[in-house]
């Protein structure tokens, strides 16, 4: 089982879901018995979720979707189902 130092070194890869199944399980096993490391992992998992949520919230300029559709149509794309800007 990895020690605290080895566990913290894998924090990014663990939270990014980039470890092998065995690697992932080994970290989980350590976290199960180590409140200190678990606290750090929990914090960073939550921070990652907060960043993802807050950096996705952008209101599109009004009419943007229609302009995109027009732009594609002028390239010869057959008109798709109409997009309603208000639903975005």
């Amino acid at each position: 089982m990895p020690d605290c130092e080895e566990t913290l070194r894998e924090l990014d890869s663990f939270l990014d879901d980039e470890l092998s199944e065995a690697g992932h399980d080994a970290i989980r096993q350590h976290l199960g018995g180590c409140p200190d490391c678990l606290g750090a992992f929990d914090f960073h998992a939550e921070l990652k979720a907060v960043i993802a949520e807050k950096c996705q919230r952008d209101e599109m300029p009004s009419g943007l979707l229609s302009r995109l559709e027009q732009c594609l149509e002028s390239e010869g794309l057959p008109s798709a189902a109409p997009v309603d800007d208000r639903t975005v």
């Binding site: 913290l8 924090l11 990014d12 890869s13 990014d16 879901d17 980039e18 606290g39 750090a40 929990d42 914090f43 960073h44 939550e46 921070l47 990652k48 907060v50 960043i51 993802a52 949520e53 807050k54 950096c55 996705q56 919230r57 952008d58 599109m60 300029p61 943007l64 979707l65 302009r67 995109l68 559709e69 732009c71 594609l72 390239e75 794309l77 057959p78 798709a80 189902a81 997009v83 975005v88």
Partner: protein
Amino acid sequence: MADPATFAEQAMPFAGQLYSGAMRMTRNPADAEDLLQETMLRGFRGFESFTEGTNLRAWLFRIMTNLYINRYRAKQRQPVLSDIDDVESMYLYRHLGDLDAVFASRSAEDQLIDMFPDDEVKAALEELPEIYRLPVLLADVQGFHYREIAEMLDIPIGTVMSRLHRGRKRMQQALYEYAMARGLTTAPSADTPREARSNDA
């Protein structure tokens, strides 16, 4: 081989995510719209090279990332690597106690979502030098895998990981600094509930 006639139908649902990505890259709505429009045009023109059943979102983000890099890279300031290497790992986590003191909050850890307003989180990301900003944007906001990011940015996976690590710690330091500045300038007293100051956000 993908049928160009179905491009709009398949690609338009990603317009919102692509626009947010473009905003974090270009940092202003006019350039973001141009970048998004150009991405959709390139996607449409090259749609025959897209393999049906593979990840269209990743394919579109790859086009957008490449366009952004080719068009805007020259304008970017150069990153100062040593400044970021000086930042300790898990910066925010290690300094939570300071934030607790400023916000008179006992459980800052449980209130991360309230502690940092949208604008500050966006600014912390947007202020990262481009070589860190793109990996953090693609991994933390868009949820792509290291392998996909390595392909989009045309860099080795090890480089993706080190840039992500550096970018994240610098971003944490920025979030900490914003929160401290906000807390200190609003001069919270011990009897002011956090909710009462949330309008500052």
